[in-house]
């Protein structure tokens, strides 16, 4: 088996997406950066696409999560029910624990 990093977050953990502007093949969409969400599930560990895209191994594999964001958190003028959400797959190195009320 390939090397992997033990996951830092569990389902239900409150997280915040790093507000970073990385160049290259990044799989974290800009519209969630800096925003707070809740881990919906751990998807497993996968080779890091930011490395894979440049013919490197992407190892050790990194934990990948589905993070659920409230639409109203992402778009202050969102039109729809306040329970509406967007789920996004995010690699662990883009997440930090969120001590706030998320």
């Amino acid at each position: 088996m390939s090397a992997k990093v033990p996951p830092l977050f569990e389902s239900g953990a409150h997280v915040k997406v790093r507000f970073a502007h990385a160049a290259g093949h990044v799989r974290t969409p800009a519209y969630v950066r800096g925003h707070r969400g809740v881990v919906e599930r751990l998807c497993g560990s996968y080779a890091n696409p930011e490395e894979l895209a440049y013919a490197r191994s992407g190892l050790p594999a990194k934990p990948l999560y589905r993070v659920r964001f409230r639409q109203e958190e992402l778009w202050p003028d969102y039109r729809g029910d306040s329970s509406d959400t967007v789920d996004v797959e995010i690699f662990e190195h883009w997440l930090e624990p969120d001590g706030g009320t998320g």
Partner: protein, 211 residues
């Protein structure tokens, strides 16, 4: 522009003129170059490339429809499909490709819809190639920003109290919507049910209706 002609062989209908293709784009030229190198170096044969393209083109939403109809009929299969999509699909003898399948279920309270804002990730093994609108910048940017307005343009008006869950397919997961089974289909068989399940209902821009 159409070319309306009437020839001796009875070939009479308007269609776009058949013209020479234009110059190759940057990526088309790159694809040809890489393909020719792979063949020259003996890594792949032209027939293997052709067969793979043919295989990709042979996948249709009928596969996904069979998965959905089975889930409607068999509660154990449905439970497995929701907890481990790949294992459930394998049980039906279907391929799932190198990705992990996550199946999201529509209920009376929740409506799910799928998008890939970064490119065009799509459950190709179950639905075939994505439609052009799925790859358009407008669908990809608007579905996460104003899903209810986009769904309305597809003819799907949801009650305000329904929770809309958008799933942005950004990395190694692929998504399939398990639509709600239409009312008054009790006693229907798998084939009859599968006929109600279209591509768009499994992407989440429509819901199946009894016809």
């Amino acid at each position: 522009m159409t070319d309306d002609h009437d020839e001796a062989d009875g070939h009479s209908h308007p269609h776009a003129p058949i013209v020479e293709e234009g110059a190759l784009s940057y990526y088309q030229a790159m694809e040809v170059a890489v393909r020719e190198l792979l063949i020259d170096k003996g890594i792949l044969t032209a027939d293997q490339v052709r067969r793979q393209v043919e295989n990709m083109d042979s996948r249709t939403p009928a596969r996904g429809a069979r998965v959905v109809a089975t889930a409607w009929l068999n509660p154990d299969f449905r439970a497995q499909l929701l907890s481990d999509g790949n294992a459930a699909v394998e049980q039906l003898g279907l391929e799932h490709g190198p990705y992990k399948l996550i199946v999201v279920e529509n209920t009376s309270q929740v409506h799910n819809v799928i998008v890939c804002t970064l490119c065009s990730c799509y459950p190709r093994w179950l639905l075939g190639l994505p439609p052009d609108w799925y790859k358009s910048k407008s669908y990809r940017s608007r579905m996460v920003r104003e899903p209810r307005a986009v769904l309305r343009e597809f003819g799907l008006e949801l009650p305000e109290s329904t929770t809309v869950r958008v799933h942005d397919s950004t990395a190694d997961m692929r998504y399939l919507v398990l639509p709600a089974r239409p009312a008054e289909t009790e006693g229907w068989g798998e084939e009859q049910l599968a006929a109600l399940v279209t591509r768009d209902t499994m992407v989440g821009v429509a819901v199946p209706a009894k016809r």
